[in-house]
């Protein structure tokens, strides 16, 4: 399908799947060499950027995120900003003020989150690449639920200039695509040092040499609490990998179990400071009662326009950095993070990658998600959080389907700066495994 044909049916597709918060009305791609979309927490000058939050409604950034700017320079056309959980706070993209993306395999189910709209766009639109953002699993989770490839490079590989912060020490831009070749095609375009983001300045050069993964560690801890259908698809995936001569060893990585609590302490602590700037003064809604004192005014705007999950995480994060709790929670979580990194480093002494299922279950129905408690939904991230906490690159590959045809994904993790092996793996895997494309109903 040509780019123009994609643009022609964008409205119809969005009506059916709600992947976009906002999208182009252009009917022709003009000189553009390719089309791409981006999660709504990446700034772009031509669209409002709201991070799925009403508090930023009406906000038009004055600068492009570096990743978006680099794709545009390479001839890309940004066709829209994708729906997401508010500020990235969620696993199912249901915590959105603007629209919940629907799973292309079953519209009664979630696309995953928080980059759900990006995964949906990458699945539904042909020849598409979408930028997502991962803080604790927000690229691999939706890639897994939508049955596509999702790559999150090492923390610091892609500039975060223009990425609206959730947790700055965790946020990473990632790529989502049906076709794994696109990962290796566009990562070099957006990666690299950027004077606007000091954390991008220490990276070694990205070199894609097609180095294969030869040996894999599978942590035993990862298999606990996995649904039988996911376990079955995963074991099947392992057999395929072994059949092409990859060594698979079951290992112990007990530290993985501590990643979730440490992650939620650090991510919410950082988030609560990042969200402090949204107070109805400089951008977004400014329609409160100006006769109040500024404290009361800020509170009224924040009360009205932040969603419940954003409020929950602000409170959690503020609590963990309070006097008396800071050492007990925040400082300890920093230590756990170092221990998780050490556990990965130990595994990489003997293996090229650590492999687990991506999510413990296939995409749930919206009716079931509504019944979940916050802690239940946080716990669903226990396999995607560890590499995010460690800042190590990771990749989702589709590896099976359940009886309803819902996709299952597996997650490869390699050492810092080793994106090459992941991209090689994805391309290799795509030849071994028959990835299903859902029938688009629009």
């Amino acid at each position: 399908m040509t780019a123009d044909a994609t643009l022609a049916q964008l409205k119809r597709l969005n009506d059916a799947y709600q992947m976009f918060r906002i999208f182009t009305a252009d009917q022709t791609a003009g000189d553009a060499k390719f089309l791409f979309s981006a999660k709504d927490n990446l700034t772009s000058q031509e669209y409002e950027t709201c991070c799925g939050s009403r508090i930023l409604e009406g906000y038009r950034p004055i600068f492009d995120a570096t990743a978006i700017a680099r794709l545009k320079t390479a001839g890309g056309k940004l066709i829209g900003k994708t729906n997401m959980d508010e500020f990235g706070f969620g696993t199912f993209s249901v915590n959105s003020a603007f629209g919940v993306p629907k799973n292309p395999f079953d519209r009664e189910r979630s696309c995953g989150g928080s980059s759900g709209g990006s995964a949906c766009a990458a699945t539904v639109l042909e020849d598409h690449i979408s930028l997502g953002v991962s803080t604790g699993g927000s690229v691999c989770c939706p890639a897994s639920f939508c049955g596509i490839y999702g790559l999150v490079p090492t923390y610091g590989r892609i500039s975060r200039y223009g990425l609206i912060d959730y947790g700055n020490s965790l946020d990473k831009i990632g790529l989502l695509a049906r076709d794994p070749v696109k990962l290796g095609q566009y990562l070099p375009v957006i990666a690299g040092k950027d004077p606007h983001d000091p954390t991008s300045g220490i990276q070694p050069e990205l070199k894609l040499r097609h180095r294969p993964i030869r040996s894999i560690a599978v942590p035993k801890e990862a298999m606990k609490g996995i649904s039988p259908t996911v376990a079955k698809a995963f074991e099947n995936g392992l057999q395929i990998l072994q059949s092409i001569g990859i060594d698979v060893e079951r290992v112990d990585m007990p530290m993985l179990g501590y990643a979730i609590p440490a992650y939620y302490v650090l991510a919410t602590a950082e988030a609560s400071t990042n969200l402090a700037r949204y107070c109805g003064m400089r951008y977004g809604h400014q329609d409160g009662d100006y006769t109040q004192g500024f404290d009361a005014y800020f509170s009224s705007i924040r009360t009205q326009y932040f969603g419940d999950e954003a409020k929950r995480r602000i409170l959690l994060g503020t609590y963990t950095r309070m006097e008396g709790f800071r050492d007990r929670y925040y400082a300890k979580a920093l230590q756990v993070r170092m221990d998780v990194i050490d556990a990965y480093k130990a595994a990489f002494q003997n293996h090229d990658a650590v492999l687990t299922p991506t999510m413990p279950f296939v995409s749930p129905k919206f009716t079931d998600i509504a019944k979940m408690t916050p802690v239940e939904s946080y716990a669903a991230d226990y396999l995607t959080v560890p590499p995010n906490l460690a800042g190590t690159p990771h990749l989702n590959c589709p590896c099976g389907y359940d009886a309803d045809g819902m996709p299952v994904g597996m997650q490869f993790v390699t050492d810092h700066w080793h994106e090459d092996e992941l991209i090689t793996m994805a391309e290799q895997w795509d030849k071994l495994f028959d990835v299903r494309i859902p029938e688009v109903k629009a």
């Binding site: 000091p198 602590a269 400071t273 404290d295």
Partner: protein, 445 residues
């Protein structure tokens, strides 16, 4: 009574601390701003290395221990002029800790720490009770110097601030744009509990605010009341302090590490930075090293540290008494003109050397110095000096009692100086007249 100070100094970097906006005066409100200092979503800080260098220089000046690694933290508070509602500052690992400054070279005032942080914007109240915010100042680099409560009186606090500010200006070449770039928070306790007076601008105001607060606390305690730990503000116009809010503890700001900036390994950088000797240290050293009166040393340094350095050269080339006589005499008298001329000081040393070798007389030496230092021709310098000498000599001839009086009274010469100033009508600098009068009186004794 205990007084401790937190002094904020704007560092003279060309661009702001975390972005490339200029730090110069802006043509209008909110013109020297960018996504970073406005805190727009998705913007990030990039550290200005020069701010770190200035921080290290000041830490050295204060005798602080400089950390091998230093990093930044986030301090969260909601205030309209703080664009991110988060201030990037230093908490756990400031640039320097544990220094000491000797007030007037004697009383030790301990320095708790020195850290770097960004300045917030400015809030301006309008007549109709609304507020306007200007973010031009947002992100200007600040060094905050925190003292222990070692100061005993408001006057002593002012004296300390005066000395500290002079040292800071000298060390980091801070321009003299009034006292506006120095602000301080003043902590004072007369009894047990202390109050903090926030954001006092200028040295005189610090003393005024502290004096008012001292009297207020004494009166409260005398009346049987209790001092509450609180933050107060100083009203410059009325000269009073007033309560702003109950004081939070520093830890209540919920500090976390600033994840957008890394850890800075500054050990090597700190080693490579040397700082100029502070004026006070130079004064003390000169007095000790050359065995001269501290007042004389202070006079030299206060005129200029370059003049004091020239004195050292003269002492090396001739001897201490000769060096002191000429450095505080004719050289000081012509110093202002000399600094404007931008010619080498070595020639001054040569002239005084000739005197010491007996090649020229005192009068010739004074003339040559004047001619060289002011750029006047030798003839006109000689003629002008001769006129001046004649006027003084004439006066002293008529009033011989002045010479006699000068033996007992230090101020006797003032009469002569006043007369000569009137007579010459500004054609000679006051320093020059003082020098000539003192010299002639000395000769007649």
């Amino acid at each position: 009574m205990k007084i401790g100070l937190e002094i904020h100094v704007q560092l003279p970097t060309k661009s702001k601390m975390f972005c490339s906006c200029p730090t110069t005066d802006a043509p209008a409100p909110n013109t020297h701003v960018c996504p970073t200092c406005l805190g727009l979503p998705g913007s990030r800080p990039v550290l200005n290395r020069q701010a770190l260098v200035y921080g290290i220089m000041l830490a050295k000046m204060l005798g602080c221990t400089i950390a091998d690694t230093t990093w930044f933290s986030r301090k969260t508070y909601f205030y309209p002029d703080m664009s991110k509602s988060v201030q990037i500052t230093q908490y756990d690992h400031p640039i320097g800790v544990g220094g000491v400054v000797y007030l007037d070279g004697k009383k030790p005032i301990r320095i708790t720490r020195i850290h770097l942080e960004e300045d917030p914007g400015k809030t301006k109240r309008t007549a109709d009770m609304s507020s306007l915010v200007d973010y031009n100042r947002s992100g200007i680099p600040l060094a905050e110097i925190v003292t222990e409560p070692d100061l005993g009186t408001p006057a002593e606090a002012r004296e300390f601030l005066t000395q500290l500010v002079a040292d800071i200006r000298h060390t980091i070449d801070l321009p003299e744009n009034g006292e506006r770039s120095i602000r301080c928070d003043c902590n004072i306790s007369v009894g047990k509990e202390r109050c903090e007076i926030k954001n006092v601008t200028g040295l005189k105001n610090a003393e005024r605010a502290l004096t008012y607060e001292m009297i207020r606390q004494v009166q409260v305690l005398k009346a049987g009341g209790k001092i509450d730990r609180e933050t107060r503000a100083f009203d410059e116009a009325r000269g009073v302090t007033y309560s702003v809010r109950k004081k939070e503890l520093e830890a209540d700001y919920g500090y976390i590490d600033e994840p957008d900036l890394g850890i800075y390994h500054v050990g090597m950088l700190a080693k490579s930075i040397t700082i100029k000797e502070s004026p006070l240290n130079m004064t003390l050293r000169l007095a000790k090293q050359y065995g001269i009166e501290e007042a004389k040393a202070k006079q030299l340094v206060a005129t200029s540290t370059d003049l004091a350095a020239l004195f050292e050269q003269l002492a090396a080339a001739t001897d201490v008494p000769t060096a002191l006589t000429w450095a505080t005499g004719a050289v000081t008298a012509n110093w202002k003109a000399f600094t404007a001329r931008n010619v080498p000081a070595a020639e001054i040393v040569d002239i005084v050397k000739h005197l010491r070798a007996g090649q020229i007389t005192d009068t010739q030496c004074a003339l040559e110095l004047k001619s060289y230092m002011t750029g006047q021709s030798a003839e006109s310098a000689a003629a002008a000096a001769a006129d001046l000498e004649k006027i003084i000599a004439g006066y002293l001839d008529e009033h011989s009692e002045v010479v006699a009086d000068a033996q007992k009274n230090d101020r006797a010469a003032n009469r002569v100086i006043g007369f000569v100033m009137k007579q010459t009508g500004g054609s000679h600098s006051s320093a020059e007249i003082v020098e000539a009068v003192n010299r002639q009186i000395k000769q007649r004794l």
